[in-house]
Symmetry: C2
Subunit: 306 residues, 2 copies
């Protein structure tokens, strides 16, 4: 039976590219039939990657059947995975997030979590000398994943290993990293076709903080003005999204990749309190700029207080 | 703060030796202060290993403090770990069991699970070329762990990697594997000093099967007669142990290492049904021999039916 390889719901570049990388490795190196799939529509940066490297857009699946062999990449959180994930035959997990608990496997599996910025960097290490066999298009996906997750090495999650792999791949592919990353970020920043509710859910994870269920949304962009021009409509859409998704509040952080700062929307007293308690921010008005804040994983979540 | 490295409660050889191996690696190679500890009294084979290689018996701890840095080896099951494990700062997990769920980490950590017979074999891979720096006593612990978990390569969990590492270590240490394993198994088989309740809990894990809570106990021995001579007392002790530990039934499998078979005790109708349904055994009397059954992980648990 063909192994399905997928990342999390609301696929970003790493959750779109890493399944492609690992399915190639399973098919062409290990000799296990495998297919990359998606759990939702990829974001505009992921679509740019597929288009640039002429990779097929993976099929989008709704759920997994009992005993379906699967490899999970870029998450270990059941909430971000198909409803029947624990009914599937999970054969491997490759991730770079904290262990959440809740996934169960039928037997001992291959599982690797490493504190690197990008799943693709872990795969580079696991693939080892077989990297020599990797087609350029798959190497291109790997490079795109790393530049995306590190925000071209600006994110504090970036490690020396992520950088070294990206530099090596760029050299092999004849890619100028600055130019290529600029094109990636321009694609990610083109959010004109999305509704406010779609933007609030595009790169979003739920966390419980001090008894409150928070949907913590991030939009990484080189054109923050294009998002912030819509701030009134975004704030107006927050209560509806929160209610539909069973959250108490949506938080939106607009990350300015080039200026290395985030603007948080402050529609009400709760978000004002969160901004003040979590980031020591002095809030006046309905937005607040948080200098240096780039990473949900490393800077936003660990500091959140309600 | 010194990192504590430990395996599961009721430490066997792998759960005693692997913390020693990894604490050495952290201290002497990585440069992180670390200390191996135990969550209970080690079994007689583990004590043999410590004595043979002149290794200090690690301190036994009761629980871990909040934010205590810890590395967990040879399990990922919170039920087999200190009560406050999720309050600790788990910095790494190295294991070869199925993912159970329930552990949570504060951030992305180093986590490796591989389907090998022995945690120490995974460590050998992770340590890589730094194996050259490992003292003989620690290499001896590594060899002992592998021979113990593979029952000298007889267990169906044994992989080529486990064998290759053990052979290489034995050669470096000038150890004759047959002689050394025989001494190990003799130590493990000397259970004369233990009460029946202690024997039932010595190498035991709880599993829920078809709504029943089963304490599945294994005694690996080269002298099955020494255990089976005490079968009446063992069966008499089962209800008390089950009640104290919140289980519906204790199952005891006496694994004859040399003859590669297990004898299951059959004190009542429930255990008779389990023996018949799970292993297709024809039961008459209060014991049943299960040819070829050596591994709880690979042969007993996956087949258990009530």
């Amino acid at each position: 039976m063909t192994t399905l390889v997928f990342g999390h719901k609301s696929p970003d570049t790493d959750s779109t590219g890493s399944p492609i990388i690992w399915a190639w490795f399973l098919n062409d190196v290990v000799g296990v039939p495998a297919k990359p799939v998606l759990l939702g529509e990829p974001n505009t940066e992921a679509l740019f990657m597929l288009d640039h490297w002429k990779l097929d857009k993976p099929e989008i699946i709704e759920d997994v059947a009992d005993d379906q062999p699967v490899v999970i990449v870029d998450t270990n959180n059941p909430a971000e995975l198909p409803a029947n994930i624990n009914g599937a035959d999970i054969t491997a997990i490759i991730d770079h997030h904290k262990l959440v608990g809740g996934l169960e496997t039928k037997g001992p599996i291959h599982m690797v979590i490493e504190p690197l910025a990008c799943t693709a960097t872990i795969m580079w290490k696991l693939i080892g000398k077989d990297m020599a066999k990797m087609p350029d298009a798959v190497k291109g996906a790997m490079l795109t994943c790393i530049l995306s997750d590190t925000l071209e090495f600006r994110s504090p999650t970036t490690t020396q290993e992520d950088k070294a792999v990206a530099w090596s791949l760029a050299e092999q592919l004849g890619i100028n990293i600055s130019d290529y990353a600029a094109a990636m970020f321009a694609a990610k920043s083109d959010v004109s076709s999305f509704s406010e509710a779609e933007l609030l859910r595009m790169d979003s994870k739920e966390f419980e903080v001090d008894g409150k269920q928070l949907r913590v949304s991030v939009l990484e962009t080189t054109s923050p003005a294009a998002v912030l021009d819509r701030k009134d409509a975004l704030m107006a859409a927050m209560p509806g999204v929160a209610t539909e998704d069973g959250a108490d509040q949506v938080l939106l952080f607009v990350v300015d990749i080039l200026n290395e700062e985030a603007t948080m929307l402050v529609p009400n007293e709760l978000t004002k309190t969160i901004a003040e308690k979590s980031f020591g921010a002095a809030v006046s008005g309905d937005t607040v700029v948080l200098p240096g804040i780039m990473s949900r994983k490393k800077q936003i979540i660990p500091n959140l207080k309600v």
